[in-house]
């Protein structure tokens, strides 16, 4: 096939694999930092009515910053490498995480929460046993979108030497080496698809999703 040159992928699969691992590590690191922040913001947005709109507007605004501009902006203060990349990834993922955490928690029927309180659960037990599990499918959907966004933006972050599969793209472009670019593209797309499937599967494992399947809804 003309133009579909898989030679780089087949000949350098070890390198592609190791860049994929770097990409995954970078993405998961960003998610691991983003999630606790988003949980705090999301719970606040869900529980404090007057803060809902400001918090959601704020994280929405963060997402509108162009990614290259954001990366360039961080270079003077943060230099190059993974650190500024992670700052950018954490920032972008907030919108999906916070929005879904808040929506998931708000979507839980208040009478069920009152029942949880009424049977004698402490606040923490209510959150852990009832509120959070019922919001979980929506929260996982948010994590899925956030992680896909992180994976795609992490590729751009290779521009500031954050490593990962974006490396193949930028090096391939610099050296006018289409097979190298193609190897990067294929690996990134494959990673995104696998991530998507994995998290969709995880969504189906939540107790609420199981209950809904059993009910035939």
């Amino acid at each position: 096939m003309e133009g579909v040159d898989l030679s780089y992928l087949t000949e350098n699969w070890r390198e592609v694999w190791s860049l994929t691992i770097d990409h995954i590590v970078l993405s998961l690191l960003a998610l691991a930092i983003a999630l606790p922040i988003a949980l705090v913001l999301g719970v606040i947005a869900a529980r404090v009515d007057w803060l809902t709109a400001p918090v959601l507007t704020f994280v929405g605004f963060l997402y509108t910053i162009p990614s290259l501009a954001f990366l360039a902006f961080l270079i003077p203060s943060q230099g190059l490498g993974q650190r500024p990349a992670i700052i950018v990834l954490v920032t972008y993922s907030q919108v999906f995480l916070v929005r879904n955490i808040a929506a998931g928690l708000r979507g839980v029927d208040p009478t069920i929460l009152e029942a949880a309180s009424g049977v004698g659960m402490t606040r923490w037990q209510q959150l852990r046993k009832v509120w959070f599990p019922l919001a979980l499918p929506v929260i996982i959907a948010g994590i899925r979108t956030a992680l896909l966004t992180i994976i795609s933006i992490a590729a751009v972050a290779a521009w500031i030497n954050a490593g990962g599969l974006g490396d193949l793209l930028f090096r391939g472009i610099g050296r006018s080496y289409p097979a190298m670019i193609l190897a990067g593209v294929i690996a990134i797309v494959a990673l995104a698809i696998v991530t998507d499937l994995l998290l969709r599967f995880l969504e189906r494992l939540t107790p609420l999703a199981r209950a809904q399947r059993a009910t035939g809804r």
Binding site: G120, T122, P207, A211, T215
Partner: protein, 333 residues
């Protein structure tokens, strides 16, 4: 159980205004009144879902604030209209919630859940592994009842437990509740706006209006001797058939006369005059024999007796009971 006095100030008037009640252990008490009368607020202050602004509530000898709220609530069965079942948990796990919070051992929990499912008429082998959404409304409320009973509470609070059910299902569940109450003698407070439900189930009725208790008495007293126009309207002073459905046969029974037993149609002591009336009309007889739960005759009932008992209730102020639209006088003090 001993309630003293609690005020719950709110705009523009207190939701519950200086209420004092003393409820005997083992009684089934209905909190009755129109929406917004404060009956649900009163109920929820007992398990501290709402905090009273002032006043104290005792259960046995414990003031409800002497315990932490979760510990208090685990000792009190709680049933709400919307069932409040946890949709992500199987029926078994829903019922096991309180025993698990109380850290019962597994074997004991298993046994208790089975026992409870049987008690509320849901065979465990068919129901334990299902999810709430797979059950009908009536079945869900049975599970709600089982969950409330799980840790063998001596006190139960029920907030319009049967309000969302159709008439037939409601009737069945009312019978179940009466049976469970006869068997275990918990102290039960239940909120309702349905006078028939209150009269048929309760040992005592608390009639509430605008945050105050207007009358606290047995169903018979409330129906035959309403404290004021408001209660009279509620028990249907202007509607004979309604009143007949609320007054028990016992209120109109006459001494047994010889030679009647065995010839006249029978009616149970626990039935209501409306049943008696339809039995009289239906059979063409002019007297019914009243029998107790074992079928022994205890008295007779005539059409005259029904008429007398159905006469409008005597009221202290002899107000115009046929005027239900009359605005109630403000009760401020």
């Amino acid at each position: 159980m001993e309630g003293v006095s609690k005020i719950y100030p709110n705009t523009p008037r207190p939701a519950v205004n200086d209420v004092s009640l003393r409820i005997a252990p083992g009684e089934l008490v209905a909190l009755l009144g129109p929406s917004g009368c404060g009956k649900t607020t009163l109920l929820k202050m007992i398990n501290r879902l709402y905090e009273p602004t002032s006043g104290k509530i005792w259960i046995d000898d414990t003031e409800v604030h002497d315990l932490k709220a979760p510990a208090l609530r685990r000792r009190i069965g709680y049933v709400i209209q919307q069932t409040g079942l946890f949709p992500h948990l199987r029926i078994h796990d829903n019922i096991a919630v309180v025993p698990e919070l109380l850290k019962w051992d597994k074997r004991r929990i298993e046994q208790r859940v089975d026992e409870l499912l049987r008690l509320v008429g849901l065979p465990p082998e068919d129901y334990a592994r299902r999810y709430p959404a797979q059950l009908s409304g009536g079945e869900q409320q049975r599970v709600g009842l089982a969950r409330a009973l799980a840790a063998e509470p001596t006190t139960m609070l029920m907030d319009e437990p049967f309000g969302a059910l159709d008439a037939i299902t409601r009737g069945r569940l009312q019978e179940e509740l009466a049976r469970i109450h006869r068997q275990f003698r918990q102290t039960i407070l239940f909120v309702t706006h349905d006078i028939e439900e209150a009269v048929h189930l309760a040992d005592k009725i608390v009639v509430m209006r605008e945050g105050r208790v207007v009358q606290f008495d047995t169903p018979l007293e409330v129906v035959t001797r309403p404290a004021n126009d408001f209660v009279a309207d509620l028990v249907g002073a202007g509607d004979v058939l309604r009143r007949l459905s609320l007054v028990p046969v016992a209120a109109a029974v006459e001494p047994l006369s010889d030679g009647l037993a065995g010839t006249a149609p029978e009616i149970s002591q626990g039935a209501f005059l409306r049943d008696a009336l339809s039995r009289l009309v239906d059979s063409g007889a002019d007297r019914l024999v009243v029998v107790d739960a074992d079928g022994h005759p205890t008295g007779t009932l005539s059409l005259r007796g029904v008429q007398r008992a159905a006469a409008p209730p005597s009221m202290d102020d002899a107000g115009d009971a046929a005027n239900p639209a009359a605005p109630a006088p403000a009760e401020r003090g």
